[in-house]
């Protein structure tokens, strides 16, 4: 069964169309990138899948179950983990505690006033940290880490609920170039091994073309291309959008001649 199936999503903010009939599908184990210029509707689409925004119309199906309109908490319960453009971690906790927190929540022990939190699910947390290569830093405060490492911890947090789908909003933003490739490699490996679908937005084209199985190009709320990286790369319309509108350029050149 298709892991994620999105059909006819629409969203308007005031008079601005942020998403228009957005539709796509994602299979387990695949990585799907959404790219496009600023204001293209990437975040809107993303937030409608993650539950932060309610679509005006359309449907989001996760493994056949409708999830559109659910709160982010409920979306998470059904199997969607997510990372944020600016890494969101619990800055007053250690690396391991950050992951343990997610595990505690996953096992419904949030309201417990019993045994200390730091003793719960530690082995499981360490395993997850192992997966992202952060086990050695388990007991360091997360706020002391380099940003690239924080992003890895965030990935481990997102994996704690054994998600079927990962939503990653600009996973490499703010990272040094060499850290970027590492994070994307780790993500791709985990996704393939665990059959997790990954939906991500990204500005770093190296990351996109090295790792995405498919690419979706959004412009002004509409999908203008959807295909394999090579197909998207050779798509004339996509190239035009990224370099600016040719029509305008011609007019401009004519005017400049007169100035």
């Amino acid at each position: 069964m298709t892991l994620l199936k999105v059909t006819g999503l629409n969203k308007r903010f005031g008079g601005v169309v942020a998403a228009k009939d957005v539709a796509f599908a994602l299979e387990a184990g695949d990585m799907l990138a959404i790219i496009g210029p600023n204001g293209a509707g990437k975040s809107t689409t993303f937030n409608m899948v993650g539950g932060q925004l309610r679509p005006d119309s359309g449907q989001v199906l996760l493994a056949g179950q409708p999830i559109s309109g659910l709160a982010p908490r409920e979306v998470w319960r059904r199997g969607i983990g997510r990372t944020f453009q600016i890494a969101q971690t619990f800055v007053s906790m250690s690396v391991a505690e950050n992951v343990q927190m997610a595990l505690i929540s996953w096992h419904d022990q949030i309201m417990s006033v019993g045994a200390r939190a730091e003793t719960r699910y530690r082995p499981e947390a360490l395993d997850l940290l192992d997966l992202v290569g952060m086990r050695a830093d388990a007991d360091r405060p997360v706020r002391e880490l380099a940003y690239g490492d924080v992003k890895r911890v965030e990935l481990a947090i997102a994996l704690a609920s054994a998600p079927k789908l990962l939503l990653m909003d600009e996973p490499t933003a703010g990272m040094a170039p060499k850290e970027r490739a590492q994070l994307m490699d780790i993500t791709a490996t985990i996704a393939r091994q665990r059959k997790i679908g990954v939906l991500f937005t990204e500005h770093d084209m190296d990351a996109v073309f090295a790792h995405a199985d498919r690419i979706l190009v959004l412009v002004r709320g509409e999908i203008i291309a959807d295909g394999k990286p090579d197909e998207v790369r050779s798509n004339a319309r996509v190239k035009q959008v990224y370099l600016g509108d040719m029509g305008v350029a011609a007019a401009m050149r004519a005017r400049r001649g007169r100035v």
Binding site: G50, T89, F90, I110, V113
Partner: protein
């Protein structure tokens, strides 16, 4: 109720709305530009009134005329304006970048200093002001007599509104104020020197407060409690109208003026409650007030002000804790009566401060009205014993339950808000409780409170009662501390660190904050209940703003970043207060100056200062800043 009566009532509502607007517009303009809620705005109002009762009679001696009266009012307001500008240059300029809690506290420090200054200069007795010449008569409106001065006040409000409108619309200064209210950073990028803009804004805001105060002299006798009573009303007006919005303040003042004028006919005792209820409802429907905008505090440090790491007790800590408990246990045996009394008070305050710190330090919920729950516990216990016929034991157990129930009720609204609006709402709820206890004389004894709140006979000796207090407070503190280390406390801290992340891993942020608020209120209630039996009485000071501030100072003094901090803070604060207060007539000034100094120099408190000494040799992590 005939039409003429309704009109008269409505006119007197307009007169008080007019005064409220003049004062509130100053507060809201200052907040809009500087993003500081100036607690001392009420003090500026009081200063305006005191200056006017001094200056106006002098001028009236020269010439008993209305222009002279107005000249005196204007001069008083101008002096207050200069005072406000100085306050900006000396204090506010240094605290624009500190967390809101510290800003509120620092400006409250100014409140304390001004109170003592006023008492020193003008004395503590009420001063009746001169009447305004030519406006001493009554005017007949539909056969009802209405004071001319009240009509003049309505006109004054309209004039101030018109002049403010002209200033805001037609002058460069006004345009800059409005622009800065919307986007300070962009105004700076266009080459505007903010320092002068801010000083000018404070001058304007203080002038309006002073004007509002000076205009009151023919209406009310000037007294030293004017500052606190006006500031809560003005807070309500600006919060309902939307912080930073002058039209909002105007509309809110009108609504509240009418609500008070007519509310007093229907519910004479609880007009204040009506006003606060209106505020609560508005905030739930429109969390930023009628005309307010969500605070785009982009670029602010997101490292929370609170507990940043939980260390388990090491050997040294265990020894120190053990010694502390041993000393406490030995106190009733070896200590004299005075020491035991101080011991009881320290324990009770430690629990109250600890429960507040649970909210602020762990939950990031900055409550400015924690005394409400302390006081509710005290009143619950005191009234159950004196009027309910219960004995001490069930009363002490019911105190936290009743306080917790109120905390659950108020908290339901509180946790929907954040930042300065949250602090204002907690303050407002505390003032409701205060007002009820103050005004419901038959039940609560009003200002005098209730005496005869004595422990059961077996616990009547100080030494035995000390042991009761020790048992309760110690177990409550240990239980709360345990909750901090348990998943519940972690989840609460997680919601504080990043609500976005907490939400994305299934934590119901609002629910957990609500539970924490209730739990904390119950713990404060227990402290209050224990306190009432140690004093043998209850009175409204236990619920007052200064009490809430005392708790905050304890938390900050001890250090907001450590678990044990508030206990140290409570002990230190109470000892200092107990030692110095009898020695000086200027306790408030001393306290106010200390608060300001603490905010400026040791924002991390005693424990924090010790921790930063040890941290000095470690590289400090850079505070994380969210990109705009």
């Amino acid at each position: 109720m005939d039409l003429s009566f309704i009109i008269i009532q409505s006119l007197s509502g307009l007169a008080s709305a007019s005064s409220l607007f003049i004062i509130a517009s100053g507060l809201t303009i200052v907040f809009g530009v500087t993003r500081i809620v100036n607690f001392a705005h009420g003090s500026l109002y009081m200063l305006g009134a005191y200056l006017a009762v001094t200056i106006v009679p002098l001028l009236l001696d020269v010439d008993r005329s209305l222009p002279m009266f107005l000249l005196g009012v204007l001069i008083s307001a101008l002096i207050v304006g200069v005072f406000g500008a100085l306050m900006e240059i000396i204090l506010l300029r240094r605290i624009y970048h500190v967390p809101e809690l510290f800003q509120l506290l620092a400006t409250f420090g100014v409140v304390l200093i001004v109170q003592d200054l006023v008492i020193k200069i003008w004395g503590a007795v009420e001063i009746p002001g001169p009447r305004a010449p030519s406006l001493r008569h009554g005017v007949f409106i539909m056969d009802q007599r209405f004071p001319a001065y009240e009509l003049f006040l309505i006109a004054a409000g309209i004039v101030v509104l018109a002049v403010l409108w002209l200033l805001m619309q037609k002058t460069r200064f006004g345009v800059l104020i409005r622009a800065a209210t919307q986007d300070r950073e962009m105004v700076a990028a266009l080459g505007v020197n903010q320092a002068w803009l801010f000083t000018g804004t404070l001058f304007l805001g203080a002038f309006l407060a002073g004007l509002g105060g000076a205009l009151q002299i023919p209406r009310v006798a000037i007294n030293t409690q004017m500052d606190i009573s006006i500031i809560t009303e003005v807070f309500v007006v600006t919060v309902i109208g939307g912080m930073g919005s002058v039209p909002g303040a105007f509309i809110a003042a009108l609504i509240i003026g009418q609500l008070q004028a007519f509310g007093i006919l229907i519910f004479p005792k609880i007009t204040l409650v009506l006003v606060f209820l209106l505020m609560a409802v508005v905030l739930v429907v429109k969390p930023w007030g009628l005309f307010g905008k969500s605070d785009a505090a982009a670029g602010r440090a997101i490292l929370p002000e609170g507990i940043l790491s939980l260390k388990r007790f090491g050997t040294v800590d265990n020894i120190v804790a053990g010694l502390a408990i041993a000393v406490l246990l030995a106190l009733p045996v070896f200590g004299d009566n005075y020491m035991v009394k101080v011991g009881i008070e320290v324990l009770v305050l430690a629990l109250a401060a600890f429960s507040l710190h649970f909210l602020i330090g762990v939950g990031g919920i900055v409550s400015f009205g924690h005394a409400a729950y302390f006081g509710l516990g005290a009143y619950a216990a005191g009234l159950l014993v004196t009027k309910g016929g219960l004995s001490m034991e069930p009363s002490i157990l019911l105190a936290p339950i009743i306080a917790g129930a109120f905390a659950a009720l108020f908290g339901y609204f509180v946790v929907r808000l954040s930042g300065i609006y949250l602090a204002m709402l907690t303050l407002a709820f505390a003032q409701i409780v205060y007002a009820v206890c103050f005004q419901w004389v038959e039940f609560t004894g009003g200002d005098n409170g209730v005496v005869g709140v004595w422990p059961s006979s077996w616990a009547s000796s100080r030494q035995v009662y000390f042991c009761v207090v020790l048992a309760f407070t110690l177990s409550a503190i240990i239980a709360l501390r345990h909750a901090i280390y348990a998943p519940f406390g972690y989840a609460l801290r997680a919601a504080r660190d990043s609500a976005t992340r907490a939400d994305a891993i299934g934590i119901d942020v609002r629910r957990i904050r609500w539970f924490a608020f209730t739990l904390s209120g119950a713990a404060a209630g227990l402290a209050g209940g224990l306190y009432s039996f140690s004093k043998g009485s209850i009175d409204p000071t236990m619920i007052s703003i200064p009490m809430s501030v005392d708790f905050l100072v304890m938390v900050l003094l001890g250090g907001i970043q450590t678990v044990i901090g508030p206990l140290v803070g409570a002990a230190a604060f109470h000892s200092i207060k107990d030692f110095f207060m009898p020695l000086t007539d200027f306790w408030r000034m001393f306290l106010g100056a200390s608060i300001i100094l603490m905010v400026l120099v040791f924002p991390r408190g005693i424990s924090g200062a010790a921790a930063s000494l040890t941290d000095r040799f470690k590289p400090a992590p850079k505070p994380a800043v969210a990109p705009s």
